[in-house]
């Protein structure tokens, strides 16, 4: 067995082990790499950044713990940015295993608001975020397509009560908010196909401004909607989250993960090249042997 045959029959568990070692080493080393924000992420940040106080941003968080690695950093960066700028946030969780996780995330972000911070040179004082005043969490309802259509008529139609059982009419924030006409934009953070529904049934039917934050797996399939203007921004996976954190000057887990991503990608590219060299050289040898046999 020559080196190329060995390359082709390399046990994949060595690849996993090598990748894990490289990732842990990059994590421990704590190196930093520059993060460049792309226009599709910048457009979301700029839009929120220029909204007046008291505007409502609708953030449907349609993901569950399986996607939180990539999507939680987006949620944390966007919601904190909104609250620091005194923009109200309306939230749904249309993924069945998501509501408890979203509730926990909102509590975490509300806790971080109790500390004064400076972002992009602007100082923000500590403040208490109040449920019903600064945000409303509507929770989960089955069949996202129907829920999205219902929300377009009146938020109270699919959600007469919020996640905590309070009637929507008794929440101060919801007094002037009836449907999509009363929101500045929607930023769908999703790990499911709910994004398709938001594009077709939400933006397509009601024409509100929509941006999306999706997992890496589904990022490429949503770029055509950016080109057609159906969405005004897209954050793709952990990279999109890191870019948003960079723009918001609020580095979190996504920013910390980028050097590890870089190291892991270098290793994977090396293994892809190795596999391809092995494949082509083995094929060449087989062809030569066949030619000699004839």
């Amino acid at each position: 067995m020559n080196i190329f045959d060995k390359m082709m029959s390399f046990d994949r568990r060595w690849v996993f082990l090598f990748l894990a070692v490289i990732c842990v080493a990059a994590y421990v080393a704590g190196i930093r790499i520059p993060i460049l924000a792309e226009p599709e992420v910048t457009s979301i940040f700029r839009f929120i950044d220029t909204l007046p106080k008291g505007s409502i941003v609708f953030v449907p968080m349609d993901y569950d713990p399986g996607s939180m690695a990539e999507l939680h950093p987006m949620t944390y960066a966007i919601v904190e940015q909104c609250w620091r700028k005194e923009i109200k946030v309306l939230i749904t969780a249309l993924s069945q295993n998501g509501p408890g996780m979203v509730d926990q995330a909102l509590r975490d972000i509300a806790d971080s608001m109790k500390v004064p911070r400076t972002y992009n040179g602007v100082s923000y004082p500590a403040r208490e975020v109040v449920n019903g005043v600064d945000y409303a969490f509507l929770g989960y309802k089955p069949y996202p397509a129907m829920v999205i259509l219902g929300l377009g008529q009146d938020f109270r139609l699919p959600f007469p009560l919020d996640y905590y059982g309070t009637p929507l009419d008794s929440l101060p924030m919801m007094r002037g908010a009836h449907n999509y006409d009363d929101i500045a934009c929607a930023i769908n953070i999703s790990g499911t196909n709910a994004t398709d529904y938001w594009i077709s049934y939400g933006q397509g039917r009601y024409g509100f401004k929509l941006a999306i934050g999706v997992t890496g797996v589904s990022t490429a399939q949503y770029y055509p909607f950016l080109g057609s203007g159906q969405i005004f921004g897209i954050m793709g996976g952990m990279l999109g989250a890191a870019q948003y954190e960079k723009l918001a000057d609020n580095p979190g887990n996504a920013t910390a993960a980028m050097p590890i991503q870089l190291a892991a990608h270098v290793v994977i590219i090396a293994f892809v090249i190795m596999g391809n060299v092995g494949y082509f050289m083995t094929r060449r040898q087989q062809k030569r042997q066949q030619a000699v046999g004839r």
Binding site: F16, A69, N97, Y140, I199, S200, Y201, G204, G216, V217
Partner: protein, 275 residues
Amino acid sequence: MEFSTFLWTTFAAFLTLCIFSFLYKDNPFYKFAEHLFVGLSAGYFAMILWHNGLIPKLMFERLDDGHPYFLYLDSTKPWYLIPAALGALMWTRFSQKYSWISRWPLAMYIGIGAGTAVPLEMRARVNQQLSAMMADINWASFFGHGNVNLLDPNSGLSQLIVFVGALCALIYFYFSKAHTGIIGGMAKLGIWILMIGFGASFGFTVMARVSLFINRMQFLDQQWIRGAHDAANPNYHWGYPVAFYVVVLGMLLYVFYELASHLSAKKKAKTGTAA
């Protein structure tokens, strides 16, 4: 972090390690974590549906006397009985004799779904996408006028790439004419366009999978390992490191057991071959 919270964190860390152990090979720890996850997800989903779907619409509305009532209906919404009855008919699938009745709610559901989806999906996924593909190409940007940023979707080059790319990719799937001559060349370019698309998807998928690993690594380090050794925690006591090292020791013992089994199997195979 309180000790009870830390115990749950330790359990989560244990489950994380159980799941990762599958990368070596299938084993009882992985099976345990997998079954627990499936069971918990199903149970959680059922309860979420019950409390967010059925209860607010139909059941167990409490009256002033404080007693729960099954199927108490809000008198202002009696029409909720219709979908409730249709939903109940779905359960006839469990009877061989009456399972045909379940086709009625299914027919209704499919009819509503198709009626809603067809016009909206046509508009969002076909008409608007076609319209974007056929947008006037900004030729001026090729000569340094207007939008010259080639990465911008509204630049002339991007528009040209989208138009030619979409056309060639569609021609690749056009089988009514042999792929020779110009059609063959366009189909070949179409394959390249598709491959670039798949490559982009693959790259993003790799990033997504690595992200999951990084997130678990951050969890193990920031919450579990540091939590076990956080002497600044006012609730800290000997139980924290004990819980941590019990899991670590258990995992190490399993790794040694697996290694010993592997080496002994290898030795046996060698002895058998020699004999």
